[in-house]
Amino acid sequence: MNTLLLSHELLVLALGLGLLLVDLWLPLPAKRKLGYVAALGTGLILLYSLVCVRVPPEGAAGYAFSQMYVLDGLALFFKRFFLLAALLVLLLSVEFADRITSGLSEYYALVLFALAGMLFAASANNFTLLFAALELITITFYILTSFQRHRVASLEAGVKYLVIGALSTAFMVFGIALVYGLSHTLSFDGLARAAGALGGNRVFLFGLVLILAGLGFKIAVVPFQIWVPDVYQGAPVPTTAFLAIGSKAAGFVLLLRVLFLAVPDITAHWPHLLMLLSGASILYGNLCAIPQRNLKRLLGYSGIAHAGYLLLGVAALSAAGRAAVLYYLSGYLFTVLAAFTVICVALRQVDGEDLGALAGLHRRSPLLAATMTLAMASFAGIPPLAGFFGKFLLLKAVLEQAPACAAYYYLTFLALAGIVISLYYYFNVVRVIYWSANATDLSPIPVSGPIRLAIYACIAGMLYLGLFPGGILNLATEAVKALP
């Protein structure tokens, strides 16, 4: 077995374990800097991935663990995605460090372990590895969510995530068992061969839907989204950020593989189900976000809506749709991390992330104000930012399928309604930043060097994906060629 295929995961695990070891000898004041070391290590691994690891040509993907683990274009795209996300989240965690009362280095290490789980998930080619990777991610997030033991909200969020997560895992395992029982194989390739015959089998579909319930929990679509607002609100800010992007993307890569690699024939009969889930998520997420005053909760609901938009690309059942999903996730990475960075820095003094605390931000820190505005505009889908081109690609993918099936037109109009509704609450944040009358504290906010770096990276990412989409679009299109 070629160990080099697992280089990303092994390096990340080594980094995490090394961090825990070093922590034993480090005095307390220095523990905070360990986060920078972790970030630097992650950055080096990302650099290694970009420079040394070549995308394998089509059909020549590398397999490990008897075909359970695959390293193809799709896997590599998402591995680099997760590494970048973890890098920015680690920088955010260092900023957040003074609000974590104990176990700081464990926090960094847990982030790295969650990252390792995500890296495994990107390469899952078998239900076993899918389950193992998902559990690694979810269990790590149980701890990360409830990390601030002195805050009841954090503990509550952790318990809710634990119970609902366990429920979804239970459904998923039951589903995997049923699928295995009928098809005698756990591998996606094997399932693709066997699923043709099993397409009409009710029990098989039953199992498949339960598996999708488990994956739906991760990506937070309706009707599996009920945990999102409370968990997003209660968890510490870097955890929420990593949940919002890493967990969601991991769910999506697994969903893409299951739907299009393992059971493509069955998925071809399910456009209406996917359209329904997509439309319901868009509507629910956008409507519920309107009255929100808590920023993290608002971003949670908006995350549900964005999962709905991403499902548009899945529901389109075309390669263009899948490429659009990857592109949109890339834009979402920079946008969501920019927003959470601003929340982390600007609301340092305030307990509870109320919208009103952003008042007067334009005076206190023009950089943070501009970043938040760009993030909100990118969420809303306004040029020249990443969110616009992502939405454009998703709408294009759906409209390309629309002549064949008129229901896609209804979905498009529903998405339009959702986008217009979302403009209201995103621009409300911009309003509070720039001209709210209730600005109480007008002291300037210091922004440390690494955070500044993270912010510039996010802004550059949003603008690059909005203005020069060709490069990443080509990468995404190449990556989805791994799915037939």
Partner: protein
């Protein structure tokens, strides 16, 4: 590098430069903004003068591939239709930058947003690629929102700014769906407008597809242009906005939807256009009459001008609905004329607001004594709005009426009434209320525009109105060939011109008569396969 790239590059580049200037260097910030818009205006005038009316196709083109796999490119170019619009946009933007003396706080952010908005608008008019077209227009969305919110006036400004942003986004998104559907249905794999036009001329879309896409474009663009009944965003938005924003929005940004209809919807979807134009003709009466009547009831001058701009859009819709060369040429002429007019009016009302703090007509009065220049300019603007000959609006309106008469007799008659009578009523009442009559004590101290620099933007706009009003051929010579070439698939066959009465030789009775090209005869001959009402 095409001059067009410079025209939209100067404002956008200046916006980036402004990011680096500290916020306390106020004169530097103002200077950069005015310089950038001045450069754009000068380049636009040069381009306008160098434009060759006789050449076919597009001039000053530049195309750079953007996303090859989708067929997106940065493609800018002008033909007769948009060369006047780019000129109008650049001049109005310069005037708007000059008029913004009243902004005294947070200038850096204001001018930055103004420059981004300008770049977006000019890019939208110059774009020859469907994606670019939409992209540049949406650049103006966030600046509008923030400008009305931070520097706007009145207690309703929050509601007004949310309304304008969400309503216009709805329209723009509908149009986006229409544009993407057009791209998908055309099957040419490109968003480039000239290539699409050539492709669709050879392989037109099926009537079903056209019937689906055209209403999306019509109502999407229509919302952007305050087509009745989707107009309620305009008056509160314009009355709450600071003058520069109102000038740019009402003067220039509003024309984007109309330009989209003429450039994209009519040529690429000609059959559906013929079906929908009768509906548009009757809806435009809604704009003219309804907008005029509600304007008559307004107590606030800015809201009155807002409703009047809604009413003026009725002319352009009528011209487009006429679907003939004269009508569409008139429509473009009205677009350019109204751009200058709206900018002038909102600029002047902004000056009034700055001096008196109110725009309620009942509380003002007799201002002509204290403000001779501003008052005179306001009167000229009002008369231009009523359609007084000598101003560009008259040239446009009369051309639209001539064009629409050939297609819709009853609508044209009603439109004349709406335009001339109702327009005169509310405009002259407003002028009487503002400028004539007794001067209340409170405004005894208001001062006129002190020196040439403060008068300059108004003089510029007035001069444009007068020049294009006295010599409309400067514009129509360029517009007519472009319309007849580009919008040809949708146009009704042209009625050949009769010899003018000033010609010396009497008509030769033995010469063969020109073919009977009245609509009735054409219908008999089967030129319009479907029922066209009007």
């Amino acid at each position: 590098m095409s001059p067009l790239t410079y025209i939209l590059g100067w404002p956008l580049g200046a916006a980036i430069v402004l990011l680096l200037v500290p916020r306390t260097f106020r004169p530097v910030i103002r200077g950069i903004a005015i310089l950038a818009t001045l450069m754009a205006a000068v380049l636009a005038v040069k381009m306008f003068l160098r434009f060759d009316a006789a050449a076919a196709g597009y001039q000053f083109e530049q195309q750079v591939a953007w996303v090859r796999s989708l067929g997106l490119s940065y493609h800018v170019g002008v033909d007769g239709i948009n060369v006047g619009l780019v000129l109008m946009g650049a001049l109005v933007a310069f005037a708007a930058a000059c008029v913004s003396w009243e902004i005294r706080e947070r200038e850096k952010e204001f001018y930055l947003l103004l420059l981004v908005m300008t770049g977006g608008i000019l890019g939208a008019f110059a774009a020859l690629d469907l994606f670019c077209f939409y992209f540049f227009h949406e650049l103006a969305l966030v600046p509008t929102f923030i400008m009305i919110g931070v520097w706007g006036r009145g207690e309703q400004k929050d509601y007004a700014t949310f309304q304008i942003t969400l309503y216009l986004s709805l329209g723009a998104l509908l149009a986006l769906v229409g544009l993407i559907a057009l791209y998908v249905q055309a099957g040419a794999g490109t968003f480039d407008i000239p290539q699409l036009a050539a492709h669709l001329r050879a392989h037109p879309l099926s009537p079903g597809a056209q019937g689906f896409i055209f209403p999306l474009l019509l109502f999407g663009f229509g919302i952007l242009v305050s087509l009745w009944p989707f107009h309620t965003w305009a008056p509160p938005g314009y009355s709450a906005a600071p003058s520069a924003t109102a000038m740019l929005h009402a003067g220039v940004l509003k024309k984007f939807g109309l330009y989209g209809l003429i450039r994209i919807a009519l040529p690429l979807l000609p059959d559906a256009a013929r079906d929908w134009m009768p509906i548009l003709a009757w809806l435009c009466l809604g704009n003219l009459f309804y907008g005029g009547w509600v304007a008559m009831r307004q107590k606030d001058f800015n809201r009155l001008v807002g409703y009047s701009s809604v009413a003026h859009m009725g002319f352009v819709f009528l011209g487009i609905a006429a679907l003939n060369l004269v009508g569409i040429t008139g429509a473009v002429l009205v677009m350019i004329a109204h751009g200058f007019l709206a900018a002038l009016t909102f600029g002047l009302s902004g000056y009034l607001y700055q001096q008196t703090g109110t725009l309620e007509i009942a509380r003002l009065g007799g201002l002509l004594r204290r403000l001779p220049f501003i008052g005179a300019a306001l009167m000229m603007a009002a008369f231009a709005g009523c359609g007084l000959p000598g101003f560009a609006n008259f040239a446009g309106e009369i051309t639209v009426f001539f064009g629409a008469w050939q297609s819709y007799r009853l609508v044209t008659i009603l439109a004349c009434w709406g335009a001339l009578v109702i327009g005169a009523v509310y405009m002259l009442r407003a002028i009487r209320g503002l400028l004539h009559g007794p001067l209340p004590e409170a405004w005894a101290g208001v001062a006129d525009a002190p020196h040439l620099w403060r008068k300059a933007p108004f003089l510029l706009l007035l001069a444009s109105l007068l020049i294009f009003g006295c010599y409309p051929r400067l514009l129509t010579d360029k517009i007519k060939p472009a319309v007849s070439e580009k919008v040809a698939p949708a146009l009704a066959p042209e009625i050949p011109a009769r010899p003018g009465i000033l010609a010396r030789p009497a008509p030769d009775r033995d010469a063969p008569q020109p073919p009977d090209a009245s609509p009735a005869a054409l219908r008999r001959a089967g030129a319009f396969p479907r029922n066209s009402r009007g």
